[in-house]
């Protein structure tokens, strides 16, 4: 079976601005795919293209096996979409919002909806416009999980939420969306790191890399070289070593293609006088920051 989400050279221009550029993305079935990238990288635009909210300038995308431009009632009944800046029917109460949406979904599960409302501690009789940001997001999530969608798409769901709400949100998502494919874009890398199975890094509309979370964690290492005296930096620097820093007799960099044997050999070749070498595992946030800064430097150069 094909992947729930698959794009082919997907591009979107806003006049002369390239928001998304020839994006080739594959989200495997059952994965929790985190789409990360700096502000303005094109994450939200990509998701809106996938959801047929925006129309692509070029390329194409398939969502649940259907051309995204042809997504309609049957597909949306299998998709749960929550966005930080979605306009909700503010005049509806939580209860009415859920009961209004119920007939749209053949697979709506009343017990699950009830459970979600209780778990999120949503005030049933309060209008959506009177809910806090966190509560609104929870209401949106509850309304998007109650029909057990095959695909959940979350666009910056954690923005503006406090830590407690984020935890509750994530916990419910994982509990209620087993066997569901989840695509999530977020800045909250620490949160995502705890549950994402795959990650894609998008920058200036380009997908810089996409891979499994474990592989990514294995691939990135912060390398710390200690010398007896400050060493001269080599004229040629491997492209995979980013963000080099020197501090007295210590050289640090990030190896974006870490392989213990190869990296050790390269270090010995380039720094024969090195006294000690330390490899540190990196968090997703550290990787993200490193890539973002490296990208900025490359652009400035």
């Amino acid at each position: 079976m094909s992947n729930p989400i698959s794009t082919h050279n997907l591009s979107k221009n806003f006049r002369r601005t390239e928001a998304v550029n020839a994006l080739n993305l594959e989200v495997p079935e059952g994965s929790i795919y985190a789409l990360i990238g700096p502000n303005g990288a094109g994450k939200t635009t990509t998701i809106k293209l996938l959801m047929n909210i925006l129309r692509a300038t070029a390329g194409s995308a398939e969502v649940l096996g259907v051309d995204s431009r042809r997504l309609s009632t049957p597909e949306f009944a299998r998709i749960g979409y929550v966005s930080e800046n979605q306009e909700m029917p503010e005049w509806m109460t939580v209860d009415y919002f859920l009961s209004y949406l119920r007939p749209f979904y053949p697979t709506w599960d009343d017990a699950l909806a009830e459970d979600l409302v209780r778990q999120f501690e949503l005030p049933r009789d309060r209008k959506l416009r009177h809910l806090s940001r966190g509560m609104r997001m929870k209401a949106a999530l509850a309304s998007s999980l109650a029909y057990r969608p095959e695909l959940v798409v979350l666009d910056e769901p954690f923005t503006g939420l406090d830590a407690l709400v984020r935890d509750e949100f994530t916990k419910s998502l994982l509990e209620r969306a087993e066997r569901t494919t989840i695509l999530i874009s977020s800045h909250d890398l620490a949160e995502i790191e705890s549950f994402a199975s795959h990650v894609g890094y998008i920058e200036e509309g380009h997908l810089r890399f996409t891979e499994e979370m474990g592989a990514l964690a294995d691939r990135f290492r912060q390398v710390e070289l200690t010398f007896d005296a400050a060493p001269p930096l080599p004229a040629e620097w491997p492209a995979a070593w980013v963000r080099p820093e020197t501090s007295a007799a210590v050289v640090r960099f990030i190896d974006s293609r870490f392989d213990l044997e190869r990296t050790s050999a390269d270090i010995q070749r380039m720094f024969p006088e090195v006294r000690s070498v330390a490899f540190h595992a990196m968090s997703l946030r550290e990787i993200f920051v490193a890539l973002a800064v490296a990208g900025r430097h490359a652009k400035a150069a």
Partner: protein, 498 residues
Amino acid sequence: MRQAIHIFRKDVRHCWPYIAGVIAATAAHAWQASSEASNPSGTVDMSGALLALLMVLAWWLAIGAAVHGESLVGDRQFWTTRPYSWKSLLAAKLLFVAAFLMLPLLISDYTILRASGFNPLGPIPGLLWRQGWFLAFLILPFVAAALTRATRELVLAGLVFYVVAFAVLASLSIPTVGIGITRLGRPSRIWDFAPWMMPVAGFALIVWQYARRRTFLVRAFSIALGGLAPVVIAMSLGRMASSVPFAGEDDPRYRNITVQLAAGSGQANPVKVDSQTKGWVSIPLKFSGWPRDLANCLVSGVDTTAPGAAHARTWASGVAVRFRSSTTNGGCESIGLSIDDPEALTSKNVDLWVSIYLRLYQRQATVDIQPERGWTRVPELGTVRWLEDAHLNGPYLIWRTALKPGTPGWTYSLSDGKSELVTDAEWPGAGVAWPASPAWFAISPVYSYVASGLTVVHASVAHAPIPRPLVLTTKRLVATLPRELKIPNVRLTGDETR
């Protein structure tokens, strides 16, 4: 359909203040119009105009509220990623319009028609046509709502459209009917359908926007269509006004009607110039081939041509020439010309062309009017009421037509049994040939006309008791014919000249 009804129920719950506003404004309008029908004053009622304005505003706001419930503009609406069917969504909005805008107006129409003396269930096709026109009228706010996000944008769009449309219509020159000329018949079938072009195109844009949500493109087309609307309206009105003036020319019954100069009693030249008024010329005419069933004729236009100039038939020479017709049963007997600038024509002998625009009428119906009974139905015209206690100085007639304006081509006479109080007054007055639709659209289903024979009524019966019943006779225009007469070598000076 189930989803459409589900969305409709949500809209009812959400838009109830707007629904209440529409129903209140419509009820107030029905009450006001019914009251006015029961006790007509013949004067312009400002409260009626204000209520009409309120109704239009209520319609705009209600449609805006319903459509904006699932806004079609933008990329953040919750519903766009829910399993909505665009057909169900559009159907829900149309259902809303039918239930809370069209149905109240239909009930209001029933009430007003009944109060105005019409059988409200009689003109059912007309009522349905009127609903169709009303829906067409609502296409504009519907399009505007489908292309805006909020009420203030919608109201702004409406204001801009009306101001621009008014400005364009005001700046366009719409041809008008010549003085005294009634256009019989319609210019072309296409003008029956022309008024529908805009709403049909507007509805197509609505469908496109609901199906594809291509706001930018649909806005561009809507602006183009909006700009075109006043032009099409102006062209339609112009076409109506300048419609083909003749009908019945080929009818064998009228083909033999001829006109010639009636020979005076032994005079060589029967064309006479009044020595006192100087400018008045009397031309005795004699008609032949007159069908027996014709009631009478009216001569409605004359042209004179300067010597040597090309002759043009305009029948609108009201500035240079005034005309007076003498009508009696059986036809036209003479015609008089009043020349404004006689000096131009009196210095030498001239050729005089008389182009005659003949209107032939047949008697249709005779009805008794009993003022104390209120409205009297007049076949094919509408209802009429005789009023004596109005603010105007004396009694007068007020006419009403149902569902569409009165179509020109009628005259009526009013008699008290002894003498005529009104003689061959045009009904409903000067106007245009409307498209052949069974209904037209205005806020009220009833159109009122104060009798054009008012001055005659005043002169005859002001402040005098009128014998009852009054007898009203209607005559229908059956043909309009051109006839021409050349009177060569006339010298328009002196009491009698040739």
